[in-house]
């Protein structure tokens, strides 16, 4: 009676299609994302992503705020990876104002960014498996390790998630006593944890069946859609901003970029595991070679910064992809234009292509494998 009323037919011949709205209040849309899906039985026929539920006027706000005042706002973009957000913003302001960064600060930036990548990917694995229906087991295993890294962030910056650590020309504060040793200890422990996760997950029949051949993106298409980060590299495209730009001091470290071949959910999931191993290599080297010296360029002006007129684009490889900040200065104390290139949003562009023809249960797995954070998608 009531249910037949609700089954809206989108055309004469397709009366048996079912329109459902997944989100904004849905357990696995990673926040307030919404997908308008048209289903034929269990199969997805059409899928329209709707975002904007978390729109906070981030970019316009930034144009009324001083350059330094924007730094804590960037924490809230991708709230899992505040340190990489800080870095990307600091990098673009440094380019705009021509500020040099001392070596120790560059190393600290690399260390914190790679720690951020590790904790993001650990949480990603958990959330992906949660979307597949395993009852929070992997999530809590991931969070157990993530917690140690968050403790490191807390003792370094005073905050676990909203770190607000980078400054133009360096970092806000130096590492406390014993921090480097603690970080070394954690990086030495992590390979064992990764082995454990790999053993648990990569050969699990159900995980393999749920992810292989699901949401495949060919490399050419991924390039055309502007995908970046692990989602792009899973399709076999060798593009990592750390290698392409070698910003900071990344050219001093010996690490490789893992590449997938098929571009399905399994590849995206495996790439995160492999990337964590590379991050550990970088971390190990960076922690051993951490030079002494100032942590901030003494000539750099942070308060009342008035960069010369011009524009700058700074981009880094955030855990989710290429994160860029585009800034235009008109010599005043606030940016004339402030634009974020959010990897989460751009990576979502192919969502419909990935989902059409798959089952409705695959939609949440595909969404999970892209790894989005709504704070960054909607801004």
């Amino acid at each position: 009676m009531t249910s037949t009323e609700e089954v809206e037919s989108i055309s004469e011949k397709s009366e048996r299609l079912l329109n459902i709205s997944m989100g904004p209040q849905h357990p696995s849309t990673h926040g307030v994302f919404r997908m308008k899906a048209v289903l034929d039985g269990e199969t997805v026929v059409k899928l329209t992503p709707v975002f904007g539920y978390l729109h906070r006027n981030h970019e316009k706000l930034a144009e009324r705020t001083s350059y330094l005042g924007n730094m804590p706002y960037t924490d809230r973009l991708d709230y899992f990876c505040s340190l990489t957000n800080n870095w990307a913003y600091a990098l673009s302001v440094e380019r705009l104002a021509g500020i040099e960064v001392p070596e120790r600060a560059e190393y600290l930036r690399v260390i914190t960014a790679e720690l951020t990548r590790l904790q993001n990917h650990l949480a990603f694995l958990g959330f992906l498996l949660n979307d597949m229906g395993v009852w929070a087991t992997v999530l809590i295993y991931g969070f157990r390790e993530r917690e140690k890294i968050l403790d490191l962030f807390e003792s370094l910056t005073g905050a676990r998630m909203m770190c607000n650590y980078m400054r133009f020309g360096g970092c806000r504060c130096d590492v406390p006593d014993g921090w480097v040793e603690e970080a070394k200890r954690i990086t030495d422990e992590l390979p064992g944890v990764l082995d454990e996760l790999e053993q648990l997950l990569t050969d699990n029949e159900i995980v393999v069946a749920r992810t292989q051949g699901v949401g495949t993106v060919p490399g050419r298409k991924a390039i055309n859609a502007g995908l970046t980060g692990p989602v792009l590299r899973a399709s076999g495209v060798n593009y990592d901003v750390r290698k392409v730009d070698s910003y900071g001091v990344y050219d001093r470290f010996d690490f490789s970029v893992p590449l997938g071949s098929v571009g399905d959910c399994y590849d995206r999931f495996m790439l995160r595991l492999l990337e964590m191993r590379q991050s550990l290599n970088i971390l190990k080297a960076a922690l051993n070679e951490l030079p002494s010296g100032p942590i901030i360029n003494p000539k750099a002006k942070n308060r009342n910064l008035r960069p010369p007129a011009g524009e700058a684009y700074g981009r880094i490889e955030s855990p989710k992809g290429e994160l860029g900040f585009y800034l235009v200065s008109d010599k005043s104390g606030t940016p004339y234009r402030y634009r974020v290139r959010p990897p989460s949003l751009v990576n979502l562009t192919l969502l419909e292509d990935m989902c059409v023809g798959q089952k409705v249960a695959d939609v949440v797995v595909i969404l999970g494998s892209i790894d989005i954070i709504l704070g960054e998608v909607d801004r």
Binding site: P27, S28, V134, W135, I140, V360
Partner: protein
Amino acid sequence: MWLVIIQLKIGIILTFFSLLFAVASLAERKILARIQNRRGPNRVGPCGLFQPIADGIKMLIKEDVVPRKADRALHFLAPIVMVAPMVLLFGILPYGGGLTLVDLEVGLLFFFAVSSVSELAVFMAGWSSANKYSVFGAMRAIAQMVSYEVPLVLVAITPVMVAGSLSLVHMVEDQAGYAIGVIPNWFVLTPWGIVGFLLLFVTSLAEANRTPFDLPEGESELVAGHLTEYSGFKYALFFMGEYFGIFAGSGLAVALFLGGGGAPLPLLQWIPPYLWFFVKLVVLVGIVIWVRASLPRMRIDQLMDLCWKGLVPLAFVNLIAAAIWHYSGGGWQGWILAGGLLVGAYLMLNRVVLRSRCSWERKYYLAKS
């Protein structure tokens, strides 16, 4: 006098299973927590032991929300239809030692007839909620439960064939005694029995909508499936029905394959059979909880593939293997013939089911620049 004894038995059985429900709901959360490196509920009472009571009070005093467009009568009836037949199932389980309530000649038939009423309840819940996710979950539940009923019945036929009776009590009697004085004569210790037991366990998981077959609830896709619009005590009743289903399914497995109330060693025969029955049942329930903590959910097409391409043919082969075993006298010839048949069938089916799957082998490159 007869009536008093019957009522006493009913009282014991109902009390036991209601208590087991409370304990299992706590144990599930505790075991899940231990597997996941957590502590689990530990606030109410010593070590959180009174958590089920707190949960019960919470469920009772919670607001009962019924959606405006819902079919109120069906929405109200569904939880009752879910629990009532499950309680009936406890009446025919062969606990042994004088606790068996009724020894139905058609016990197994009764079991399947009554347990499939829960499908009706799930569909009633989904339909009456007037929610797309609920209907979706209900459709999945019907498809899944009807499909898995087939291998379940086929597997349950094998002990019937060997024991020559549909009565569960008779079946348990058939498994009494010990070979060579130590090894119990349980059906699970035969080639067809072990396969049958595993099949029965897997299909009961699917019948009870448990992980990895919890698609009707599929919380990451369907919010909560047919339970989406239920709250308060109605929700608790569904929860109870699901647990009772697990208990009954485990009880059936114990009766059919694990020798009912039989002791695993002749030395331990002084322990009353109903205690053995409950111990075996609780162990099986523990395994169900363990599985829940460690496996992801399957997809609907994979679920159907597994049933129709894997479990149903294997159950048929198992039937034949049981016949071969029976007529070869159950010695080493039986092991070779029946075991060989089952292993061959398993390997072949594995290839058939595997063929539809993508390759396992993946290559990853590590680009240096």
